[in-house]
C-alpha cells in the first residue's frame, strides 16, 4: 500500500497550489500566529534566563537562605552565625556570603534615580567568579568603590563606560552617598532591575545604614572535593532548621519558581502564546473550511467514484500539514530577526533556541491538525447521492 503512496496524485498539494492567493493569505496567517507564539515564549524564556543570570556566576556547592527569601527581588536576611554553624561540618572546605539589596543609582546626566541590584562580596575572596570582578577585586578593598554592569542601558545609567575609559574612575551618587565606579562587568539586565552593581561588604553596609553586618542574605558553602553534596545538604538541613539549604540548581529553580508562579509576568506571556495559538487555529480553519465548501461537489464526486471518507480526510490533513510547515518557515525567520531587534533594545537575553523552534513547530502542526479536524465536519455533508 505504501509502495504506491508516492505515485498517487498529491491532491492536497495541487489544491493548495492552484489557489495561490488563498495559500499566501493562509501562510501569512500561520506565520503571524507563529511569530506571536515565538515572541511570547521568547520573552518568557528571556525572563527566566535573566532572573537566574546572577546565580550562574555564583561559585558554591550549597547555598543558605532565609526560607522567606523568594527571589532577588524579595530578599530576607538571616543571622550570619547560622552560616558559621554550618561551617562546623567536616566536609566544608570554605564559606562565603553576600549581602543583596536594591539601591538607587543617580544618573549624573538626567539626575533621575534608577533601581539597581547591589551584590556585596568579600573583596578578599569573591563569591562572584566573573573574571572582570576578580580583576578589580583589589580596588574594591577601598571603601566607597563599586563595579558597574555595562549591560545596563545608557539612557538609564548615563554614559559611564566611556567616562571610565577616559578617567579611570567615575564619581556617582548611590543611595545619596558619593561613590566611585572603578570598573565594569557584565551580568545583564533582568525583569527585577535595570542594572547591577557589585561592591564590598563594608561599602554595602555604608550604603544601606539600616542593614546589620551579622544579618546576611546568601550564604555560600564550598565543600571538599569528592563529597556527596546531597548527603551533606540533608545532614545540614536537619541541624539548621531556620534556614533553607539549597544546591546550585535548586537555588536557580527557587528563583524561577517565584517568577513562574507568584509573579503575573510569567502567566501573561503564557497567555499571549495561547492567544497566538487560537488566532492561528481560526485562520487555518477558515481556509480549510472554504476550501472544502468550494470543492464540495468535487469531493462528493470522488466519493461517488469510490474514494472513501478516510481518503478525503487524509487529503484535508495533508493540506493542514503542508500549510503548517510552509507557514512555519517565514514565521521562524522573521522571529529570529525580531529577537535580535528586541535583544538590542532591552538587553534581555532573547534568542532562538532549537527546543523553542521545535515546540512552536509542534504547536503549529497541532494547530493546523485541529483546524482540519473541525473542517472535517463539513466534509461529511459531501453526500454523493445529492450530486446526481
Amino acid at each position: 500500500m505504501f509502495r504506491n503512496l508516492f505515485r498517487k496524485t498529491p491532491l492536497a498539494w495541487f489544491q493548495l497550489k492552484r489557489e495561490k492567493n488563498r495559500l499566501a493569505v493562509a501562510l501569512a496567517g500561520i506565520a503571524f500566529a507563529d511569530i506571536l507564539m515565538f515572541f511570547q515564549l521568547g520573552l518568557l524564556d528571556a525572563l527566566f534566563e535573566s532572573v537566574v543570570k546572577p546565580y550562574t556566576s555564583l561559585q558554591g556547592d550549597l547555598f543558605l537562605i532565609n526560607p522567606l527569601f523568594e527571589s532577588l527581588n524579595v530578599v530576607r536576611s538571616f543571622p550570619r552565625k547560622q552560616l558559621y554553624q554550618a561551617a562546623g561540618a567536616k566536609e566544608v572546605e570554605s564559606i562565603n556570603y553576600l549581602y543583596v539589596g536594591q539601591g538607587e543609582w543617580r544618573n549624573a546626566q538626567t539626575r533621575t534615580n534608577q533601581p539597581t541590584m547591589v551584590f556585596a562580596i568579600n573583596p578578599h575572596n569573591s563569591a562572584i567568579t566573573l573574571s572582570d570582578v576578580q580583576a578589580h577585586q583589589n580596588e574594591l578593598k577601598l571603601l566607597n568603590r563599586m563595579l558597574y554592569d555595562r549591560a545596563g542601558a545608557e539612557h538609564f545609567f548615563g554614559n559611564v563606560v566611556q567616562e571610565l575609559q577616559q578617567s579611570g574612575s567615575v564619581p556617582i551618587q548611590f543611595n545619596n552617598f558619593q561613590v566611585e565606579v572603578v570598573g565594569t562587568f557584565v551580568m545583564g539586565a533582568s525583569f527585577a532591575a535595570n542594572g547591577n552593581v557589585i561592591t564590598s561588604h563594608s561599602t554595602f553596609l555604608r550604603l544601606f545604614p539600616t542593614r546589620k553586618p551579622n544579618e546576611i542574605d546568601i550564604g555560600v558553602i564550598q565543600l571538599k572535593p569528592g563529597t556527596d553534596v546531597k548527603q551533606v545538604q540533608a545532614a545540614m538541613q536537619s541541624e539548621l532548621k531556620s534556614v533553607l539549604i539549597l544546591t546550585h540548581e535548586e537555588f536557580m529553580a527557587h528563583e524561577k519558581k517565584y517568577w513562574e508562579a507568584t509573579s503575573p509576568i510569567g502567566i501573561l506571556f503564557g497567555f499571549g502564546a495561547v492567544i497566538g495559538f487560537i488566532v492561528g487555529t481560526i485562520i487555518v480553519y477558515q481556509i480549510l473550511y472554504s476550501d472544502v465548501s468550494d470543492h464540495l461537489p468535487e469531493y462528493a464526486t470522488l466519493k461517488a467514484m469510490g474514494y472513501s471518507d478516510g481518503y478525503l480526510v487524509g487529503v484535508l490533513i495533508q493540506e493542514a500539514l503542508i500549510m503548517a510547515v510552509l507557514g512555519f518557515i517565514p514565521g521562524f525567520v522573521i522571529s529570529i530577526g525580531l529577537y535580535s531587534v528586541a535583544a538590542a533594545a532591552t538587553f534581555l537575553p532573547i534568542g532562538m533556541t532549537i527546543s523553542r523552534a521545535l515546540l512552536v513547530l509542534t504547536l503549529t502542526i497541532v494547530m493546523c491538525a485541529a483546524s482540519g479536524g473541525i473542517a472535517m465536519r463539513k466534509l461529511q455533508s459531501a453526500d454523493p447521492a445529492d450530486i446526481f
Binding site: N4, E298, A304, A385, I387
Partner: protein, 246 residues
Amino acid sequence: MIQTWQSDQSHSTAAEPVISARQLNHYFGSGELRKQALFDINLDIYAGEIIIMTGPSGSGKTTLLTLMGGLRSAQEGSLKILGQELHDASKQQLTQLRCNIGYIFQAHNLLTFLTAKQNVRMSLELHEEMFDRDIDGMSVAMLNAVGLQQRVDYYADSLSGGQKQRVAIARALVSQPKIVLADEPTAALDKKSGRDAVEIMQKLAKEQGCTILLVTHDNRILDIADRIVYMEDGRLADNPETTIAD
C-alpha cells in the same frame, strides 16, 4: 471484498443480468413525512446493453440511478449489481462497489485544480493493481479516444462545457467499468457537443462491452439506445414483465 464478488461473477453465466431489481421500493423521510419514491421496480439489464431511462421530472429516475450506483443503500426488495446484493449493504461494501462503476453527471464535476489528465488518473488510482501499469499513458490514450489529445495538460476550468463533459466521460470509462451510469449527460451541452458526447460513450462502451444506463430528457439522443424504459410516478411503465402482460 473485491475478490469475493469478482469470483462470484466468474461463476455466473452470460445470461445473468449485471443489474437486477426485484420488487424494489424506496422511501424518503420518516414517520408522518415518509413518502414512497419508487414502487415495485422490476428491471434486468444485461451486459453490453445501452438503456435509456426517460420520464417526467420527479418520477424517480435519479433515485433509481443512485440506488443502482451504490450511492444509497436499498431499503426494500432486492437489488443486485454485478452479483452483489445491495439490500442493507454496508457503507464499505457500497464504496467498494462504486470503484467498479463509472459515473457521468449532468455537471461535469471535474476537480478544477487538476489538469484533464490528472482528473482521468484519479479514476485509475482507485485500483491498486493499476500502479504497476502506465497510468499516465492510459489516461492520455483515453483522452485521445474522446478527441482531447490537444488538451491533456489543460486545467479543467479552462476547458469548454463540451470538452469538460468529454473529460468526464474519459474519467468514467478509463478504468473499464462493467457499468456506466449517466444522469442527463447532455443537458448542459449544445446539440452538436451533446451528440458527440453520447456517440463517444456509445462507441467506447461497445468496444469495452460495458453496460450503460442513461437518464435523459433529451429526445435527440434516444436512437443510441438498445432499449428505452419509461418511468412515471415512481413506477416503470415499460419493464419486461408489463410488456409481456400487455
